[in-house]
């Protein structure tokens, strides 16, 4: 299979303009003759649906949520990057591009990243126009803060609720189009499969989560904006319903899955409190602007934090990475935390935690200023732990947070299946092996507001789309397959619930394919996952029927896909004999424990082709070239 990434040539600064100028256009009167399915109404999906409808396309949008406003994007706290340089501190499109390529540990495509940095400035303008209440200075101008992996202040924010406000902006734009009749919105509908006709993506199969009805929907193109797969680990900071089904089903229908092993572990989450734990809560990275991270210098120091004098504390990030300090990138900060806990210097129950201490900042700026910046985060922390972070340092520990991998897409955000486009966290395109903070919101909105509206036109204008209908053989077969799968799940009649399988899978993944990986562990996981999957199909119990609101069934269907997908992640982690970004292979590290990349052999995107459940998937490589940012060892020292 040949991977054509459709990258434009020429100077990087001009590529997107040149490409847009060359893309075919659909004339305004013809746009309404085309229909587009958008699955997902998070930042990427809602912004895409609204914008495509504004342009005149007929859009059908789908979400399993009861309202488009509830997508996982709503939980993003910290902010969104843009190269506005409002702070006059040396930021530019180039610097954002450079930081993102470097932050991604040289495993992303330069052309895509440059475009992302370019359109970042338009996103802020668009959101302000929609009424997104970004934080302002007293003079009325937009306020910024800094995030990990950057030495400039380019992050825009709305208190600690940036994702909420951006999503509501996109949701409102979407609801306006729903009101105008240009978008047909299908809430509480879960995509179960992709329908491919004559080699092109032409529709989806959905299950109505209230009535259980399974049916097909057809269109001229399909966009997946279905988010990430972090919940393969069971415990993560993702919303509970996040799952891999949409992208994994597309993968089984021929779409390549790229870099599935690149997962991001976020350094600042609230540690787990018991085995009933259902999810982990993130404490925004923006806290690292004012909080200092430390552990006791000596192992087994169980004094309470206020009893430990300065001289007995190890501010290990400041010590090891003096120029970035507490704002070191996520992968580095997470591994450093694991390291001190592995040494036995962790704090709190089980020693799985480090302090994030605000006492210096409170002394310097006053409690009021800190409350202004982080009030809602402090409240949330207190609610969960019962401890007051104004008085006692927070305890934090790394947790799974984001997935850089996703369906492979070309420069137009189209997968290798013609007519199937993938946006937001669901694709693999811009963050390489590690995403910088505040860049996911930027990417989701860039894809939805400013990239897909152009590139989908280029595809549709080429023509050649035959008429299709739900009566067609492919659509009927896909519906039948989905119904069959539901029946099978319901009739196993075993003893274990979907959640119990999910927890067990998550534990395998966290231990063997989590923050650090090695060959023997991955091989072990590749043995245990199929065994667990086997047990799942023998011993699962899903009470109730398929023709009603049945949350156990929803979970069962999602876990079934995770149980196949997890294997793909391990295959990917195993083939990548290097450490880069979020992928840390213990065999490949420098003497002082830093990641050891291997550019000679692994400077490529790993795009996997499905070859049947239980079979080894086929690897396709898209070589990466760095013409603008010189390949170098990442250093934050």
């Amino acid at each position: 299979m040949e991977l054509n990434s459709a990258l434009p040539g020429g100077p990087i600064q001009q590529r997107w303009d040149k490409h847009r100028a060359e893309l075919k256009l659909v004339n305004p009167a013809n746009k309404r003759k085309f229909s587009v399915i958008v699955v997902g109404t998070g930042l990427a999906g809602a912004s895409a649906s609204a914008t495509l409808a504004e342009l005149g396309y007929n859009v059908q949008a789908f979400t399993y949520h009861d309202s488009a406003r509830r997508a996982h994007s709503i939980a993003a706290q910290g902010g969104i990057n843009a190269a506005k340089n409002y702070q006059n501190d040396g930021d530019s499109v180039w610097r954002l591009f450079y930081d993102t390529v470097k932050g991604g540990d040289f495993r992303a495509r330069e052309s895509n990243v440059y475009r992302l940095a370019q359109v970042s400035v338009n996103i802020i303008d668009q959101c302000v126009a929609q009424g997104v209440p970004f934080a302002r200075e007293y003079g009325g101008y937009l306020s910024n803060r800094s995030f990990g992996g950057a030495q400039v202040s380019r992050t825009f924010y709305a208190k600690g609720q940036t994702g909420q406000q951006l999503l509501l902006g996109a949701y409102q734009a979407l609801m306006r189009q729903v009101g105008l009749g240009k978008v047909k919105l299908h809430n509480k509908q879960e995509m179960m499969d992709l329908i491919v006709v004559d080699g092109r993506a032409r529709g989806i199969v959905t299950r109505d989560l209230v009535t259980g009805v399974v049916r097909s929907h057809m269109a001229d193109a399909v966009i997946l904006a279905t988010g990430g797969y972090g919940n393969v680990f069971y415990l993560s900071t993702n919303a509970k319903a996040c799952n891999v089904t949409a992208t994994y089903r597309a993968h089984k229908r021929g779409a390549l899955f790229a870099n599935p092993c690149y997962t991001q572990i976020h350094p600042t989450c609230i540690p787990q409190s018991g085995d009933y734990q259902s999810k982990l809560t993130l404490m925004s990275e923006s806290l690292r602007n004012d909080g200092r991270i430390w552990v006791p210098k000596t192992k087994g120091d169980h004094r309470s934090p206020d009893q430990i004098p300065e001289s007995d504390r190890d501010y290990y990030l400041e010590r090891k990475y003096p120029s970035f300090g507490n704002l070191s990138p996520r992968d580095i900060a997470s591994r450093a935390a694991k390291e001190v806990c592995d040494e036995g210097r962790g704090v709190g129950p089980g020693g799985l935690g480090v302090y994030l201490d605000f006492s210096d900042a409170i002394r310097r700026l006053g409690e009021k200023a800190i409350a202004d910046r982080y009030g809602n985060l402090f409240e949330m922390y207190e609610r969960i732990t019962g401890e007051n972070p104004y008085k006692v340092p927070m305890r934090i520990y790394p947790a799974v947070h984001y997935t850089m991998g996703g369906l492979w897409v070309d420069y137009n955000l189209m997968s290798n299946v013609p007519g199937l486009f993938v946006l937001g966290e669901a694709n693999f395109s811009d963050h390489g092996a590690n995403r910088l903070g505040a860049s996911a919101l930027m990417q989701g909105l860039a894809d939805g507001y400013f990239v897909i509206p152009y590139t989908i036109g280029g595809y549709l204008a080429q023509g050649g789309l035959a008429a299709v209908s739900s009566e067609g053989a492919e659509a009927q077969q896909a519906v039948k397959d989905a119904e069959q799968k539901i029946q099978t799940l319901l009739s196993i009649g075993g003893k274990r619930s979907p959640d119990s399988f999910h927890r067990e899978l998550g534990k395998i993944m966290w231990d063997k394919c989590g923050m650090a990986r090695n060959e023997s562990g991955l091989k072990e996981a590749l043995q245990r996952i199929p065994e667990l999957r086997e047990e799942f199909w023998q011993n699962l119990v899903v009470p109730g029927s398929g023709t009603e609101l049945n949350q156990s069934l929803e979970r069962g269907l999602r876990v079934a896909d995770f149980l196949e997908f997890a294997e793909l992640m391990c295959f990917d982690a195993l083939q990548r004999n290097e450490s880069c970004g979020g992928h840390f292979r213990e065999e490949y590290q420098t003497e002082d424990g830093e990641a050891l990349r291997n550019d000679d052999d692994y400077c490529y995107v790993a795009a996997w082709e499905h070859t049947g459940v239980g079979n080894t998937p086929t690897l396709h490589k898209e070589p990466l070239s760095f013409e603008n940012v010189k390949l170098a060892t990442r250093s934050y020292k």
Partner: protein, 249 residues
């Protein structure tokens, strides 16, 4: 701790439904309220019974998906706390807890604790936005917005659309929800062009959906997990009256 739970069970929209009692042992005080229900559900599944359906997603108090009346109060006893953020340390050994769905004509029960809140989306469709197409915008800093206005907009925009305000109101009114969106946009220069038609159209839709009128009980404000102020209702009423007098809509 050991608890006795009385939970609303209703198999579907047309079922009458009733409270059923469950005893749950060994609940840890560190669990969240929803984790406590997870544990109950796992026990029910193990016993071959149908687990309790309840809505949730973020479990961080931001998505607005969770919602249940706990001991007569929407989202339970703690002020400014969603059900998902409520922890069992608020309860004590031997407590009896009543758990019911939001009750309002405009929020029909779908199953157990799950209700249909589509009416909120339809209110937003009628004007809860600024009509600006992608690509129209000028530079973000060309519209300076004083910090007090920006902060006020943010206070209103913090609404998570959970519906607790409706569940708390004796008239099942959606005034606070609707006023929060109107107040958010009315606090900003971007929201002025459509200010009057927005208030008119959203309020009319609220009535169409079957939400009740506001008779100034302010239970909504007390129940709101985000602390949205009932002052926004007064502002909405002014905008609505101005719009009616102006003859626009």
């Amino acid at each position: 701790m050991n608890l006795r739970l009385h939970i609303w069970r209703q198999a579907g929209p047309n079922d009458t439904g009733m409270l059923k009692t469950y005893d749950l042992a060994n609940v840890s005080e560190h669990m969240s309220f929803l984790e406590m229900l997870d544990v109950l559900n796992e026990e029910l599944i193990a016993k071959g019974e149908i687990p309790v359906a309840f809505d949730h997603d973020c479990r961080e108090g931001i998505c607005g998906t969770c919602g249940m009346v706990i001991n007569g109060r929407p989202h339970g006893p703690l002020a400014r706390t969603t059900a998902c953020q409520l922890h069992m340390r608020t309860f004590k050994d031997g407590d009896e807890i009543y758990i019911e769905p939001w009750r309002a004509k405009a929020f029909p029960v779908l199953r157990d604790l799950v209700v249909d809140r589509g009416s909120f989306d339809r209110i937003i469709q009628k004007g809860g936005f600024v009509s600006v197409n992608t690509g129209n915008a000028q530079d973000g800093n060309t519209i300076p917005i004083g910090k007090p206005d920006a902060d006020r907009a943010m206070d209103a925009a913090a609404c998570i659309g959970c519906g607790a305000c409706v569940a708390a109101c004796p008239n099942s009114s959606a005034m606070l929800f609707t006023a929060a969106k109107i107040g958010h946009l009315a606090s900003l220069p971007q929201g002025q062009a459509e200010r009057s038609s927005r208030a008119m159209n959203m309020v009319l839709q609220m009535d169409t959906e079957g939400f009740g009128a506001c008779t100034n009980h302010y239970e909504c404000e007390a129940a709101c997990p985000k602390g949205i102020s009932a002052e926004f209702i007064a502002q909405m009423n002014r905008d609505f009256v101005a719009s009616a007098l102006g003859g626009k809509g």
